[in-house]
Amino acid sequence: MNESVESVRAADAIAIERTLAGDRDAFRVLVERHSATIFRLAYRLTGNHHDAEEIVQEAFLRAYQKLEQFASQANFATWVYRIAANYTIDRMRQRKQEDARRQAPSTEMSDDVEQDPLRQVPDAAPTPERLTQSVELRRQMENALNSLTPAERIAFVMRHCDGCGIEEIAAALKSNSGAAKNTVFRAVHKLRQMLEPQLAPRATARAMGTES
């Protein structure tokens, strides 16, 4: 851990101590220092600026309310990140359920029931030519992310965009490390299936571990 990270943690600890002692304005330091990180996480999880801002506000409100539970040796940045991830997954699940209720029951998605990824491939499957066009690639990537379950999306973003450890992901998903690892794998598998449809038959065969 480098010096600047240590100084940020020390400054956070002082701000937390003051907040708990009744100095509400001391919490401002924590909000100002960590808002941008939480915004980046929230935007990656939702793909929406407005939703991301709401998540940031809610995460800090919850952090303030639960500050007494914060262990003094812990890292506030990691803690508020986890609060944001927890809140986002609840919010995404709730929205999916609301959406599902509005649609036919057969289209309902669940974290527990794995769907056939091939059924989720968008009609306009990307070709190598189209993949070279960044705007189209971005749209395909966002579509693919949107088709993941909330748990898969959070696990994927935490692991492959923010470099979080499996244990950290498990804590955010309120799950165990084996299940968290499976969720990350499932997310990557689905994304590959959707973004590389031309590779799908081979990938399916490879999953069986064929002889070279």
Binding site: S7, A11, R40, R206
Partner: protein, 264 residues
């Protein structure tokens, strides 16, 4: 050897595969697995590179403005607050003020209110002036050090204020105490300067130990803009004058002088 399965490739990419050496040997000798691994790595890299809008430099401030009205004050336990080591200095001074006021009260009652006897109020004022004068001296040192701090060389990208930050934290508690006391005494001149001082001390106390030149400039600019060093020096002189003359620091004259100087 069999081709690596997709799960094994993903685990390999994650650095979490068991038998990593064997897997690496296979990938190096198998063009198909190597190509699969490259495609996987490219896809993950593309996701990492997806653009995220910049919320702006003042984003944290805006978030605070939005949530601050919704935060309830936390009730603190007085014993937790006052048992913290760095608060003991301030707590000790409070005790000294109370003790002196009590003793002086007894003395002044027995002294029949003679001219030579100090009233409880006069003694209390003197103790307060001494304490505030000493506090201002230490605060001025911190402000001076910040005003004169420079990066150690052209290549240095950060300015270290860790020593000043620690002292600013210690000064903050005392500063609050004196400011509140001055307000209660109706000495708005002292209270106003202490209020401005408190804002800067708060900035310094909450700053990281190593500041970027921009963060450092912002703190120093605040000191300069407020003319804080000047105000602290004027107030220190005023307090010294009151101590020497034994004048009871009528709030009007002392405050008015500081106010006048502040406007100068």
């Amino acid at each position: 050897m069999k081709h690596l399965s997709e799960e094994q490739l993903i685990a390999y990419q994650d650095g979490e595969i068991s038998g990593r050496d064997a897997a690496a040997a296979h990938i190096n000798s198998c063009a198909e697995c190597k190509a699969e691994l490259n495609r996987l790595a490219e896809m993950l890299a593309a996701y990492q590179a997806l653009p995220i809008p910049d919320p702006g430099e003042d984003y944290g401030r805006r978030v605070w403005q939005q949530i601050a009205p919704r935060l309830e004050e936390k009730r603190s336990h007085w014993w937790q607050v006052f048992l913290e080591p760095r608060r003991l200095t301030a707590a000790g001074l409070v005790a000294a003020l109370l003790l002196v006021a009590f003793l002086a009260g007894r003395v002044s009652k027995r002294a029949d209110h003679g001219d030579a006897a100090l009233t409880a109020e006069q003694v209390r004022q003197r103790v307060l002036l001494l304490a505030v004068g000493e506090h201002l001296g230490r605060s001025e040192m911190v402000l001076m050090e910040i005003a004169n701090a420079e990066p150690e060389g052209a290549s240095v990208k950060q300015v270290s204020l860790s020593s000043q930050r620690r002292r600013a934290e210690e000064l903050l508690d005392e500063n609050r105490l004196y400011r509140q006391t001055a307000l209660q005494e109706g000495d708005t001149g002292i209270a106003n300067v202490l209020d401005e001082l408190e804002r800067v001390l708060l900035d310094v106390a909450h700053s990281p130990g190593n500041l970027t030149p921009a963060q450092f400039k912002s703190i120093r600019q605040r000191i300069d803009d407020d003319g804080l060093l000047f105000k602290v020096r004027v107030l220190t002189q005023e307090i010294e004058r009151r101590e020497k003359t034994g004048k009871q620091g009528p709030a009007e004259s002392g405050s008015a002088k500081v106010e006048r100087n502040n406007q100068a």
